[in-house]
Amino acid sequence: MTTVAAQVGALAARSVTRTARQPAHAIPPLLFPVMLMLVNAAGLDPSTRLPGFPTDSFLAFALAVPFIQGALFSTMNAGTDLARDIQTGFLNRLSLTSMRGSALIAGQLGGIVVLGVIQAIFYVLVGFAAGVDYASGPLGIAVLLVFAAFVSVGFGALGVFLALRTGSGEAIQGLFPLLFVFLFLSSMNAPRSLMEIEWFRFVATVNPVSYLIEAVRSLIITGWDAQALALGFGLTLAIAVVALALASWALVERLTRT
């Protein structure tokens, strides 16, 4: 293994270890989205009787949301962890080693991806337990896990950028409600085609989170929807590229080492 790969692995392992040793950080991102999904499913199940609703199980429809919501939670935690490293001087300790700057970002993201995929597996199992029939089959579930990894990289890089830029865990926590606004103003609870309030449909249409949810949803309830998957993967990739560029720039600004 090359030195850089070993550095990435060690930093990713630290990130996973930290999360595993903080149940208060690890469990809410798993359970809270499921609880919200169950509450929504209980209240909104009658909406499946609307003409044009794509499935007769609201639970199957809503199962896509925890995948994205869980990723948002993890982003916050990852960003907060890195900000704490900056505040406590741990980043200085890392800076004094032969660690490459790229290894810091990659290691941090590596940990987020591992946790993101574990979360996704958990939600897949929740779906099975709730009787959801995955329309795209085992291969679709594999694609779903890959998508979860992509989403983790995109949102994770955003968290890393915010941490490096602000150096404050509190500032990152303060952005949490904003991410929830993005989630609630998406197609999380209804297909965009059935939204009758025009402004809401417009906001949901321009909101990238809608397309991430719809990509996951297509694998669960539709089967193979090339357009939904292309939009989901494409947007995730775009978010990841932009966020990684921002994170790299912020790292250069943050690490003043010569």
Binding site: Q7, R18, N92, R93, L96
Partner: protein, 327 residues
């Protein structure tokens, strides 16, 4: 590959912060290979800023510095590969164990996988953390954190070691243990040590040479013995049995040397004739009919050196510095 010297060479090093004073103001210094150099000064004097520049974590505004034979600006990665550093805050991850930290540090320093475990075990043994190695850091005492911090700085066998106030807040036993290990590193392994401290005793016991920094400038440099010899004469400190006699006692003692105005508890003068002048002091006090509660003769200390060079005691300078910074 040409072997580089384990030295530190600094010329005209400056660090200015935006809208702030010059934290480090054109300092020059030289530290020899295998030497322990004590960098002494009050809070806010510029010690830590100097360390950050010498360890490549902060670019200088002006001047040059070569550490281990490498330029800190142009050859940062080579400098970092040559040095170990324990900065002012022992920045450790409370959720990781001591062993986790050592493994992470060893990996980031590029130590081969096969050697990492052995190196971690050796260092844990050396700093006396074997039993606590698999406990999370949040259960460690301040002394244990400092010892682990030192072990982390030594993972890659550095040629030079920077310790920024390594014993601040430690109990005397932990402090002595750390001093012993630092002295051993310099003596047996030839490691050059740059040590900042605000403890006079630490500099006196540990350092081969001392630099005193105040307001970003080095105001004195030399071996502790030479610096104290420069001040030269011992001081006599007396406390009258009756406090009402303080004025008369001060008049009597003033005949034998310069009053030490910074000393508030006793009446004290720096003896003009050194120790030889003490019998005359005793006779004069007796002749004046003064009764003394205590009478002591004190050899010059590094605090006397600091006082002579800056007009303040080291302790008072720290407080003044803090007030000035707050202002």
């Amino acid at each position: 590959m040409v072997e580089r010297p384990n030295t530190i060479e600094v010329e005209g090093l400056v660090r200015e912060f935006k809208k702030g004073p010059r934290a480090v103001d054109a300092i020059d210094l030289h530290v020899d290979a295998g030497e322990i150099y004590g960098f002494l000064g009050p809070n806010g004097a510029g010690k830590s800023t100097t360390v950050l520049m010498l360890t490549t974590l902060l670019p200088p505004t002006a001047g040059t510095a070569r550490v281990g034979g490498y330029d800190v600006v142009a050859e940062g990665p080579r400098v970092r590969a040559s040095i170990g550093a324990a900065l002012q805050e022992a920045a450790l991850d409370p959720l990781l164990t001591g062993r986790d930290h050592l493994r992470l540090q060893a990996t980031l320093q590029g130590i081969p996988r096969a050697e990492r475990k052995r190196r971690a075990d050796d260092l844990l043994e050396r700093v006396g953390l074997n039993e606590a190695a698999d406990r999370k850091i949040r259960g460690y005492s301040g002394g244990m954190k400092r010892r682990l911090d030192l072990a982390l700085a030594l993972v890659h066998r550095p040629r030079l070691l920077f310790l920024d106030e390594p014993t601040t807040g430690l109990d005397p036993q932990s402090r002595t243990a750390l001093w012993d290990e630092v002295a051993r590193l310099a003596r047996e392994e030839g490691v050059t040590v740059f040590l900042t401290t605000q403890y006079l005793e630490e500099a006196d016991v540990l350092a081969n040479r001392v630099g005193i920094i105040d307001h970003g400038k080095i105001v004195a440099e030399g071996t502790p013995e030479a610096l104290k010899a420069e001040i030269g004469r011992p001081s006599v400190h007396a406390l009258p049995s009756d406090d009402a006699d303080r004025g008369r006692l001060a008049e009597v003692l003033a005949q034998f040397g310069d009053p030490l105005t910074e000393v508030t508890k006793d009446v004290a003068v720096r003896l003009r004739e050194g120790v030889a002048g003490l019998p005359a002091v005793v006779r004069a006090v007796d002749a004046a009919g003064l009764s003394l509660a205590t009478l002591e003769i004190q050899a010059p200390t590094l605090d006397d050196v600091f006082l002579a060079k800056t007009g303040r005691t080291l302790e008072g300078a720290g407080e003044n510095g803090a007030s000035a910074a707050a202002a």
